[in-house]
Amino acid sequence: MPIMTRRHMLEAAGTAALIAGPGAALSQLLAPDAESAETLTLPPALPEGTRAEAILDALPGKKPLIKLAYRPPNYETPVSYFRKAITPNDAFFVRYHLSGIPTVDAKSWKLMIGGDGASGTMELGIDDLKALPAAEVTAVLQCSGNRRGLFQPHVPGVEWGYGAMGCARWKGARLKDLLDKVGLKKEAVEIVVNGADGPAIDKTPDFVKSIPVWKAVEDTTLIAYEMNGEPLPHWNGFPARLIVPGWTGTYWMKHLTSVSAAVKPFDGFWMKSAYRIPLGKFPVVARFTTQETAVNTPITEMVVNSLITSHADGAMVRAEAAATVAGIAWDGGYGINTVDVSTDAGKTWSPAVLGEDLGNYAFRIWSHRFTPKAGKVTVLARATNKIGQSQTAALIHNPAGYHHNVVQSVTLVAG
């Protein structure tokens, strides 16, 4: 099926218009194909340069997504895909740190398990991995820097809007089962993971991450080979990636090639210097103590958050008629308890109706019916999780632009 971005459609429309005349071209080319013809809407708060360069563009095998950067590829999912709790594989966001992205052949792919914190070593092929007891978890994968582009003042990095996230049903082997097979020594403190992707030049630090042993041995920490019932897309880590439910995407190593138990904290660049948050600024429970310093700590679990998906900012609605605002909520794995919605800019709040519960790690759909009066209607949504954490009213600024969970505001125009 040909993949058309908006730009290509416009180019094609121009060409066709020359041949067939404007009437024919428009009727053919603007036929409703909601997803491929989706217009690009970007949050006004993004940097001006981001808004100018971002386009809808399709990577091979993917729907048109919001291209923020070609190489390494960083593409976010348009908000309309989040109207359902499960994000389709071909619309799932793509994020790479380094531009050396090999094709991984499943037949020749090998995963090495070992390290100085393990008693033995093991090498597995994809069939060996699939032969292990399978586990499934529905979990949100969200980039640490999702919504970085909304930070004021702006901070450098990939200037994500709302879509550096997705929720999928992941199937794979438990990491714990593999560690049991090689024998985890009691001195082991971290599990170090590496993937097949690498830097363009040798001097750039390879993207290697670690997680604490306690998180590695949780029942839901998987080496996944299936995503929503299908093999992982190339751009999302084929043939196998780490699944660390509740924690931000930086730990979910794609194209996984090695798992090493370590008796000392891993001190590579991507742990020691990158993906750190100031100590004490965020209400997170999960700690990564072997990596903490006096001033900062690795990012761990996601903070509670929500997104309004039913209406874009500035959308028109009918006055004095029932309207439904809806969206999703998620957190670091404690589960969503309530989502409160305000339709009067925060003066009063009402509990939204929660949708199907796909588990504590998943997106939770919510909706709220109300009758807008004529004029501008400011809608806010605020999620609270089962341990009582809520979204922040004011941005918690931090140098790398992580954990943006400011209560979102959407203004509707009722007329």
């Binding site: 940097p47 340069g49 990577l59 091979p60 190489r71 531009s99 830097p199 750039t204 190339h234």
Partner: protein
């Protein structure tokens, strides 16, 4: 043309990220040649546009320094200065 690009990309996914990359034209100005020659070795040049126009002179200097010290970009001091000056002048804020 697009069909051909997709066909090639499908044949070799390793090249897909590059095949899909369209040329990014940064603003004309002194030093653009150095930016194109050095920065695009590791990343597409839309990273520059994306991070604009809000970094001040110190902010752009810090980015160039990070590319050299943290990411090992083989850029000599003279080129680093030219690149920094270009970025501040054309994409500073």
């Amino acid at each position: 043309m697009r069909t051909i690009v997709i066909a090639i990309a499908t044949a070799s996914l390793a090249a897909a990220a590059f095949a899909a990359e369209k040329p990014v034209q940064l603003k004309a100005g002194a030093g653009l040649d150095k930016v194109e020659a050095n920065c695009s070795v590791c990343h597409s040049l839309d990273y520059v546009q994306m991070n604009s126009p809000y970094l001040n002179a110190a902010g752009w200097d810090a980015e160039v320094t990070k590319m050299i010290n943290a990411f090992g970009a083989p850029i000599d001091a003279a080129d680093a200065k030219v690149i920094g000056d270009y970025l501040k002048k054309n994409y500073g804020g």
